[in-house]
C-alpha cells in the first residue's frame, strides 16, 4: 500500500469490487443501522413502491465506499464525506468503489469518490476531504 502522503493529483486509491449484493447484506445493514424501511428487505413492499425489486440502502453503499480510506487511519481522517445518490442498487449488482485524488493543498487531500455498477452506471458520487496529520513528504 502506498502512503497517502506520497499521492499526487490524478492518483487513485485501489478500486474495491464488492461481491454481488445479497438480501442478507441488506438485512444485516438494516439491523446494524436501524433503518428498517421495508423497500430494502421485503419484495412486496418494494413492488408496492413501484420498484422492480428490493434496493440497497443508499447508506449501505456509502458505508462500503468509505473502506477505501480505512487502511490510512494513521495518516489522516475523513473530515468531509459528501454523497449524492444517483442510481439504485439491486440484488445481484456488482458494485465497484473508486476514489481519485483531484486536488491537494499541502496536507489537505480532496478525492472524487464514486460507486458504479456492473454496467458502469454511477450509483453514487461525491467527495472526500482527507487531511493528513503529519507534514507530508515534500511534493516533487
Amino acid at each position: 500500500m502506498t502512503k497517502m502522503a506520497e499521492m499526487i493529483v490524478g492518483h487513485a486509491l485501489e478500486d474495491i469490487q464488492l461481491r454481488p449484493v445479497t438480501r442478507i447484506d441488506l438485512i444485516k445493514y438494516a439491523g446494524a443501522s436501524g433503518d428498517f424501511n421495508p423497500i430494502h428487505t421485503i419484495d412486496e413492499e418494494a413492488k408496492k413502491a413501484g420498484l422492480p425489486g428490493i434496493i440497497a440502502h443508499g447508506m449501505w453503499t456509502m458505508g462500503n465506499l468509505a473502506k477505501l480510506f480505512t487502511p490510512y487511519y494513521e495518516e489522516g481522517f475523513i473530515q468531509d464525506y459528501s454523497i449524492r445518490f444517483r442510481g439504485m442498487v439491486f440484488l445481484g449488482d456488482v458494485i465497484t468503489l473508486k476514489a481519485e485524488l483531484k486536488e491537494r493543498v499541502e496536507n489537505r487531500m480532496s478525492f472524487e469518490v464514486q460507486a458504479i455498477n456492473q454496467e458502469g452506471g454511477p450509483v453514487l458520487k461525491g467527495k472526500v476531504v482527507y487531511p493528513l496529520y503529519k507534514p507530508a513528504v515534500k511534493q516533487t
Binding site: 446494524a32 458505508g63 468509505a66 487511519y73 464525506y81 454523497i83 445518490f85
Partner: protein, 149 residues
Amino acid sequence: MLKDLIGKASIKVKNTVERGAVKKFAEAIGDMHPIYIDEETGKRSRYQVNIAPPTYPRVFDYGHIDGLKLPNKGLIHGEEAYHYERPLLVGEDVYCYTKITDYYEKNGAHGEMGFLVLENNGEDRNGRTIFTSKSVVIITEAVRRLLKL
C-alpha cells in the same frame, strides 16, 4: 406545513459508541478493519482506542422534532454529507440532536416533490462538536398527498 418547521430542533439525546454495535456495523458495510474492532490495534493507534466508521452516526438516536411525522416508507434519500472534527471513538458518549434547516418544493418527473434538509449533530460531553451531517430527504408527491402536506 413542513415549511413552518424550519429551524426546529430536537432535544439532545445521549448515545454511547458501543463496541458491539460498531462491530456489527463494520460487518454490515464489509469493513472489518482491526482499527474498528481489535482492541490491541486501537491501543497502539494514534487514537489509543478503536474508532468507528465515518457513516456510523446513522446508528445514533437524534431525538424527536415536535410536529415532524415522516413515514417509514416513500422517502428518497437524495444526499448525505458528513463533516468531522475528529473520528468517533469507541466507548465515548455522544450527545446528538437533529434540526430542520430547510424545506422547499420543486417540480420533477414525479410531480411536485418536497425536499427536506436535516442537520444532525454529535457533540462531546463538553458541548464540542464531533460531527455534523446534512441529509436531503425527498418526499414524493404521493407521500405528500398522504401526509396532506
